[in-house]
Symmetry: C2
Subunit: 230 residues, 2 copies
């Protein structure tokens, strides 16, 4: 399958490498290809620079947002939440219409310091997932994977035998079942993917971030996830 990853940070790198490993064709999209190709600074978490990462993952194509959106049969949004709508405008509605956009991002606002808050206009009575769906009504937005560290997204079995939950929501049932199949390729068991309903459920999954960040502070790293027990 041809998969577009919109965004080139750690989450995008993790998803791109995993999809290539599964035999998919992947193009990452960025605002400025020359700038991204030359990015040799390490991220905040000490991971490799884009240059280092890409040297080890040469099968991943790099293009502009609109090239990637045109390329992909299915799109993943992994841009930072406060850049997402601008990035998707650059990706181009015409390139995205009719396709599935998996929104993995969170509307984090770092402008007031740490820990981040959620962008107020995208919280409680709205969400990033809904805002994307409203802005691009022809795109099938599926909110997924935004409630965990990227290492767990692509390899749920790395903790507790994969016995924990991913949440998914969106307005298009067929789109959700296609995304579920992709998550199964990562190792998610179908019964551990909880469909919370339409895209307004993104409010709930995005509002998990503040407690997630607190739990991360307690655990000491991101290698944990939530499980619904009953």
């Amino acid at each position: 399958m041809k998969i577009a990853i919109l965004g080139t940070g750690t989450v995008g790198q993790t998803l791109a490498a995993r999809f290539v490993g599964l035999g998919h064709e992947v193009m990452m999209g960025t605002r400025n290809v020359a700038e991204t190709s030359a990015r040799n600074t390490r991220d905040n978490y000490g991971g490799p620079s884009f240059v280092e990462w890409h040297a080890g993952n040469k099968q991943v194509k790099l293009g502009t947002f609109d090239q990637a959106a045109a390329f992909g049969e299915i799109l993943f949004n992994v841009t930072q939440g406060h850049h997402t709508l601008r990035a998707l405008q650059l990706a181009g509605e015409v390139n995205m219409n009719g396709k599935i956009l998996v929104d993995v991002s969170n509307p984090l606002d770092f402008s007031k310091g740490m820990p981040p808050i959620l962008i107020p206009e995208l919280c409680n009575t709205n969400s990033l997932g809904e805002e994307i769906q409203r802005t691009f009504p022809g795109v099938k937005v599926v909110k997924a994977l935004n409630t965990m560290w990227c290492g767990i997204m692509v390899n749920p079995g790395m903790i507790s035998g994969g016995d924990h939950h991913a949440f998914i929501c969106g307005n298009d049932e067929k789109a959700k079942s296609q995304v579920t199949k992709l998550l199964e390729q990562f190792g998610w068991k179908a019964e551990n993917i909880i469909d919370l309903g339409d895209i307004t459920a993104a409010r709930g999954t995005e509002m998990l971030l503040p407690v997630w960040l607190r739990i991360m502070g307690k655990v000491g790293n991101g290698a944990f996830n939530l499980k619904v027990v009953k």
Copy 2:
């Protein structure tokens, strides 16, 4: 121990009955004792009316908010979030100062229909727990138990052998350890009570409510909880 339960709804009834069963002395506080004593309508969930419930739980005293606050060595706030600050003003700062107030409530706003949102001024950059602590600086506010159905609060073993998590936060370490001991009386294992830090962590636990409500819709009832797996 003398325990005050501020609020007379289902959560308050559940906590009061459990504490009496554990041998504590309990007084519930309400705005209008005569009105509460005569309340013979069932709640939204079909549970018993207050009259029916109290007939089966006669050891629970009923007083005004300020009588209960004066009576209790430790206080529980189980009023509805949009009434909490008014109820605590009635309880009286002088009756609460120096005591632990366990805040179990959530700032739910039903005024815009279902599902409820969080009260905007008590969400994201603030929380009900913080607002209580700010309004009553002499009270030791501990946010706890607000992330689950009351049946689970008092009997964690009813699901999955009690193998799931409660979150706790607050500015006073000693207060948190006393509340932890009370939760242990309910059956919580100390290692399943996660201390998320100071009272600002209440933002995170209160913001869990929207996804909790969605999960409840999916599960079909409140007999579930979250577990942090790693």
